[in-house]
Structures are given as structure tokens and as C-alpha cells.
Amino acid sequence: MRRREFLTLSAASVGGVLVYSLDRKVSRLSAQAGQSIRIPLRFFSQSEALIVAAAASRIFPSDEAGPGAREAGVVVYIDRQLAGPWGRDGHRYTQEPFEENAAAEFGYQGKATPQHIYRQGLKDLTSFDTLAPAEQDQKLRQIETTLFFSLLRQNTVEGMFSDPIHGGNVDMVGWQLIGFPGPRMSNYDDVDKHFGEAFRPKPVSLREASGRKVRPSEDME
């Protein structure tokens, strides 16, 4: 078994408490300074995790429009997905023969699993996390058409907007950014009102809404 790897993040960069201001802008209240969080990794090595975190932050940056992949903990989401059934192609048809160069209308036909694609793709991004943002963007533009990048981009969006149960979207930061309230049990009184104006109920997570300890797919065999 491989050595247990951890990702060490400063508390200020992940989590914290996000609130709405009156003009419905998102802002961060407080993060405890000086502390760090050690997150056990399920698939990535620490150096891989730092590269993925940096790349996801260029895809969905933290900028004047609000928090991004870093605050949402996207790298933790991707790590868990890769370690779970999806990363191993648990539910993909994997009988041979593979037609690696099939037309796009047939969907991905290759043999490589998401785990393989990430591992190979990350080899082209050695020390990526130490580059300046402009250099990082340039590097990503070079691999923009690869399967690895399209997975990374899709997984980053998933990590921003999936239920926090999956490890990303910490504090529902992604949902707050776009005004999505999560699994709200009833909109009966509002669905035919608020025409032409933003209606933004406070988000709830699946565990809050259902009152159950939900088990995400990445924790299943």
C-alpha cells in the first residue's frame, strides 16, 4: 500500500463562512488565521494535488467576481471522485476492442480510465503550481484540446456545484455565487411569483434538507 498522502491547506484558503450582503453579493466573514488543515488524500500524491488545485483555480479563478475553485475545495472533490468507482470506470463498458480514434458522436472510446488520464496528464504539468498565473494560463492553453484538460474542466465545474457531500462546494460557496438554493423541498408558494426579480432563498445541503446521512457514490463499491 502506498504511503498516506495529505494535502495541507491554510484555513484561510478553504472553508470559512460565507454570507449574503443586502445587495446579494457573496462575502467571506472569517477564517481563523495561522491555522492549517491536513486533508488525507485518496488518490493524488501531495504534489499532484497541489498541481490540480492550481490548475482548477485557473479554470474557475478566485477573482473580483467572487470565490472560485480554491475556496470550494475542488481538488478534494476531484481526489475523491478519482479514488471512487468513477475514477476506475466502475460503470463504464470496458470490453475490448477499443477504437481510440472513434468519431466524437460515439463518445469516449479509449481504454484509459480517468485515473490513468489524470496520472498521464499531470506529467505534463510538473511544477505547475509554482508558476505565475499568466504562465499557468499559457501552459493550460497548450493542453486545452486534450482529454485530460476536458476532464479537469468538467470535474472543476462539478466540484464547484455538486452537493458538499462530495467534498467540493465547501459551505455551498458555488451555489451562493449563482443563487442556486440546493435541494429545496418546496417552491410551491413561490414558483409562480417573483417574475422578473431574483428570488434567492438561503441554500441548504442535501444532508440538511433530507435529515439523513447520505452516502455519496464515491464512497461505494
Binding site: V157, M160, F180, V191, S217
Partner: protein, 587 residues
């Protein structure tokens, strides 16, 4: 192989058609009925924690496990087919309730002329106007014969909507173009969200006749004629790819299962994977003897039965006949054989993606809440001067706004696909984007069909089903026409920018279209061009019936479930009233 004690009836598949037949036979007769379902048992309470877009919409937790079985696809006979390694253009369900659990619950009826498509079209435009390689047919049943059964289905589901034609009397506000109904919908229309109400206003001003989408997500609490009660819809937005956590969306598990569970003569065996229908040779009158399946413990067993219903969705119904060697496989080169012919999908796409200035609050709604219109459906427009036949409906539904799927949909003018510029646009447009959808008829062609794949196998080593499927000019031209109309409507609604549908090229297995796949075991009036007679009874194996959309000779623009249920009711009546008294051919 262990032989189990014989039963009167085996039903293969526990979805809408299988469970409806089980309910009818279980309550109206004393026959012993066994339903065999591959997937797991489940009930409404199992859906209390499924409102998770990642696991249900992206990872497709409710669908068949593609690692065990999928289909292969090629566009024409010259190509080598490739397996659909993950689901894409359609979503086969699994588990008790089947695809009827994860559906949107949109419930229009077919237009009357759909059932006589060949004769009506040839009559109006002449046979020469039909596409050269078409294989469209009449169904052998008419709308008038089905109407009473459609009404039973409406009552079963508690459909919400507004009738537009009650016994020939046109009613404003409903679909004035629909076939006659014997009664108003059981429940009033669902609430209309903002985007859909904008669509209704714009289409009305353009001269169309919008009406509320007929919905099996009922507008209020409802008790059906079987005494089954369901809650009213709360517009949470988690319908398609989800099971309803409060049972407001009619599903086999909340509508049929409560009745079946009370019947001692009906049992459901889950984890039962049927591989073959055992049958005698045709010279021995072609009787089906039972089914061979792998049970939940992995053991192969034989279940003898007097009467067998295949109710395992279009793809598996066709595949089981082919694997079992029942009937002759269709050969497009010679036109001989019937099993596998007339594969159709549906011409379904987002015709206009419209970007607005104001937020739409699109997280509120249901899979079927919205407005649609039928002015361009069927043969309601004159096609004399148009480059295609038939048509479809345009709609503005809510509840397809879950953020992983929809955040990042931006106007064409935004060129970036990642980074700050893209993010800014993605955040801005997330709740300012609405989709005008089109759903159109798909004609049947000689070259679109199903057979067994020569290369790829399932987990048991049985050949996968192979789809040979592509669009023709009729669908491409219809799509162009509908897209232009949708863009015009989006502009009328006040959209600042509109992304039109880019057009149909080759059949794209990665773009979700609809889970409306039809044909393969089609019904018809003569045995040399159909597998089933108009009562869904096999022409040559009289104790075998095949239920579901595999019986459709070609597809209509409307969603198939009400028609599937109506045909199943009609078959149940024919079996109970006629077949059981004299087990033989019904037609």
C-alpha cells in the same frame, strides 16, 4: 438448471408496462403472476435523499449499469459498430419502476393521424412524396379505439392539464389540435413559472396556441380509481433522472406497486436477469414455455409459465426475441424478417437557448411544468411547399437548471471556455438562460434497425444489441425549420442573445435527446411486416405478448408513456376478456 414450480404468468420487466399488466391481471383474475426485474426493489421512501445532481444526473445512478450491458451503434451498414461505453443520447432505467421512475412525466397523447401515418400521408401527398427508403406503417389500431384506454391512463396517473377538445368541442387554453378526449384532465394544470409564462405570451402574440404541458407531476393531491393517493407537486425541480421524494410524480412504484403489493397472487422477484425465452419450434405451434434467468444469487433457473409478457423496454424486448430465436431477424438488404425493424428515436433538441436581462428563478418548477404548442405538429401545417413531412411541438419547460449541467452555458459571443472572463459570464447567465425545446416525429426507414452485434458481449457473454441508426434529410430539414421558429419566439420573448441549435448531422450518441427509443418488435396488420398483432400478441407465438414502445411502428412527436399505457390497458382487456377464455390468436 433448476426448474421452479410453474406459474400462470411471467412478466419480464417491472416498469410501467410490466407493473400495469401485473396490476390488471392481479386484480381482475386469480392467476399467479411473477414479475422478473433485473434491478432492485424500491419505493418512494428510497428517494428521500436522491436530490443530488452529481450522483443522479451526472453519474446516472438510476440507470442500467453500462459496465454489464450496453448497446453498440453504427450510422449505416458499412460501418463497424462501437459500444456506447457510457449512456448518452437516451437513458435506460433499471430497478422496479424502470425508466418510469426517472422520467420528466410529460404526458401528451399522440395525434390521431399518427396511428394511420402511412395511409393518411400517402392519401394527402401521394406515395411518391414519402422518403425513398421509408418504412412507415399504420399501427393496426386507431386513436378512436384507444381513446377510452388513454382516459384510463389519465385517471391512473392523475394527469394535470387543460383539455382542448372534449368530444369534438374545441376549448381555448387547451390544445385545440389534439384528438378528442372523453373528459377533462383529472387535475388542473400545474403552476406556470416565469420563463414558461413569457413563452406563452410571446407565442400567443405570434399566433400560436400555447397550452399547459400535460403533466404526471400532479398539481394537487390526487386519489386514483385504484384508491392510490399521491401528494401534489412542490416544484422542487428534481424530476428527470431522479425519483420523486414525495411521490408527486407518478411512477410505477407509487402508482402501481401499492396495489400490486396487496395481491397475494402477484410477486416481484428483483435481481432476476432474464436471458432467454424458452419456446417450442414453430411447427409445434410455436408455444413459449417459460423463461431462463439468472437469479439474485447468480444461479441459472427456469421458470415455466403458461403466458409470457415481455415488458423490458424497447431495447431488451428486441434483444430477447433475437437471443431466443423467436421470429426471423430483419435483414435490410432483402427486406425479409421482422424482428429489429423500424428503429426510431425522436427529433428532440434545445432549439433556442435564450439569454435574458432579468433573472428567471429557474430552480423552481418541475420536469413537466411549462407551456407548449402544437401548431407545427403532425400534419397541422401544410407540407406541400416544405422540404420535409410531419413536425413537432415547441415548449418552454422549467426545472432543467441544475448547476453542474447548466452553469457555463453562455452566449456565442463569449469566446472563453474557462478562466475569469468565462466565469464572469457563467455566473451572470446561469439564471438568465432559458431553453425552448423541440420534440419532433422520427419517421421509420429501412436502414434504421436493430440486430445482434458480432463483436461485443454483455457480462454473461451474450451479444449486445446493435443499433444501426442515423438521421435522414426529413429530420434535418424539420430541425432547421423548428430552430428558426424557436429563435423567432425567443426574440419575441425579449432575449438579448440566442444560441440556435446547430443542426442535426450524424446521430450523436453523446447528446441527451430523450429516452424515447421505439421499434424492433412492431405491431401491425400483417405478419410479414410486423412482429405483433394489434393486441401486442406475437403473430406466431400466441402465448407471448410484448409490451411497450418496441411495438411502435414509428415515433410521434409526443412523449410515449400515455400511449404505452393505453396500449397495455387494451392488451390487458383482450387477454382477460378473450384470450383466457380461448387461448389462441386474437387477430
Amino acid at each position: 438448471m433448476k426448474a421452479l414450480p410453474p406459474v400462470d404468468v411471467v412478466i419480464v420487466g417491472g416498469g410501467w408496462t410490466g407493473l400495469l399488466m401485473a396490476k390488471e391481471l392481479g386484480t381482475r383474475t386469480s392467476l399467479s403472476v411473477v414479475v422478473l426485474e433485473r434491478g432492485a426493489l424500491r419505493k418512494t421512501e428510497d428517494y428521500g435523499d436522491d436530490m443530488d445532481e452529481l450522483d443522479y444526473t451526472i453519474r446516472l445512478r438510476m440507470m442500467q449499469d453500462a459496465s454489464r450491458e450496453t448497446v453498440t451503434l453504427r450510422h449505416d451498414m458499412s460501418q463497424r459498430a462501437l459500444p456506447l461505453r457510457q449512456h448518452g443520447s437516451f437513458l435506460p432505467g433499471s430497478g422496479v419502476g424502470g425508466a418510469g421512475e426517472h422520467w420528466s412525466a410529460v404526458c401528451p397523447r399522440f395525434l390521431p393521424d399518427c396511428f394511420e401515418l402511412l395511409s393518411r400521408t400517402a392519401e394527402k401527398y401521394g406515395a411518391a412524396r414519402l422518403p425513398e427508403d421509408h418504412s412507415i406503417q399504420d399501427w393496426g389500431v386507431t386513436y378512436d379505439e384507444l381513446e377510452a384506454h388513454y382516459t384510463r391512463a389519465d385517471l391512473l396517473l392523475g394527469l394535470s392539464g387543460k383539455a382542448g377538445n372534449i368530444r369534438g368541442k374545441q376549448i381555448e387554453g387547451g390544445n385545440i389540435f389534439e384528438g378528442w378526449r372523453s373528459a377533462e384532465y383529472p387535475t388542473p394544470p400545474t403552476k406556470v413559472p416565469y420563463f414558461s409564462s413569457m413563452f406563452a405570451e410571446a407565442t400567443k402574440s405570434l399566433g400560436y396556441h400555447p397550452y399547459p404541458v400535460p403533466a404526471a407531476t400532479t398539481s394537487r393531491a390526487y386519489t386514483n380509481p385504484d384508491g392510490v393517493s399521491r401528494a401534489g407537486c412542490t416544484y422542487c425541480g428534481y424530476c428527470e433522472t431522479f425519483g420523486c421524494m414525495i411521490g408527486a410524480k407518478s411512477q410505477p412504484t407509487n402508482t402501481l406497486l401499492p396495489v400490486i403489493e396487496k395481491r397475494k397472487n402477484v410477486s416481484i422477484r428483483s435481481g432476476a436477469w432474464v436471458r432467454r425465452i424458452a419456446h417450442d419450434a414453430p411447427e409445434n405451434k410455436g408455444r413459449a414455455r417459460g423463461v431462463i434467468y439468472i437469479d439474485a444469487h447468480g444461479k441459472e433457473v427456469f421458470q415455466p409459465a403458461e403466458l409470457i409478457f415481455l415488458a423490458s423496454w424497447t431495447l431488451n424486448n428486441t434483444r430477447l426475441l433475437l437471443l431466443s430465436g423467436i421470429g426471423e431477424a430483419y435483414d435490410p438488404a432483402t427486406g425479409r424478417g421482422t424482428v429489429g425493424r423500424n428503429l426510431t428515436h425522436q427529433v428532440t433538441f434545445s432549439a433556442a437557448t435564450a439569454f435574458f436581462e432579468k433573472p428567471l428563478n429557474r430552480f423552481m418548477g418541475s420536469g413537466a411544468s411549462g407551456m407548449m404548442f402544437s401548431d407545427l405538429d403532425g400534419d397541422l401545417i401544410d407540407h406541400s411547399g416544405l422540404p420535409f413531412l410531419r413536425g413537432g411541438t415547441l415548449n418552454a419547460r422549467s426545472a432543467r437548471s441544475l448547476p453542474i449541467s447548466e452553469c457555463g452555458v453562455v452566449p456565442k459571443s463569449v469566446k472563453a471556455t474557462w478562466g475569469s472572463e468565462w466565469k464572469k459570464a457563467a455566473l451572470h447567465y446561469y439564471d438568465r438562460t432559458g431553453r425552448i425545446g423541440f420534440s419532433g416525429e422520427h419517421l421509420a426507414y429501412k436502414g434504421n434497425y436493430m440486430d445482434l452485434d458480432p463483436t461485443y458481449k454483455d457480462g454473461f457473454g451474450d451479444p449486445l444489441l446493435r443499433l444501426t441508426l442515423d438521421w435522414r434529410e426529413n429530420e434535418r430539414k424539420m430541425a432547421e425549420y423548428a430552430t428558426a421558429k424557436a429563435v423567432e419566439i425567443a426574440r419575441e420573448m425579449g432575449a438579448k442573445e440566442v444560441n440556435p441549435f446547430p443542426g442535426l448531422r450524424s446521430y450523436d450518441a453523446t447528446r441527451y435527446q430523450s429516452s424515447h427509443i421505439q421499434g424492433g418488435t412492431i405491431m401491425g396488420t400483417v405478419p410479414d411486416r410486423s412482429v405483433l398483432n394489434p393486441y401486442l400478441q406475437h403473430w406466431h407465438v400466441s402465448n407471448l405478448f410484448v409490451l411497450g414502445a418496441s411495438a411502435f411502428p414509428q415515433n410521434a412527436a409526443a412523449n410515449p408513456t400515455p400511449t404505452i399505457l393505453a396500449l397495455t390497458y387494451r392488451t390487458a382487456d383482450a387477454v382477460i376478456d378473450r384470450y383466457l377464455k380461448n387461448p389462441s390468436a386474437l387477430a
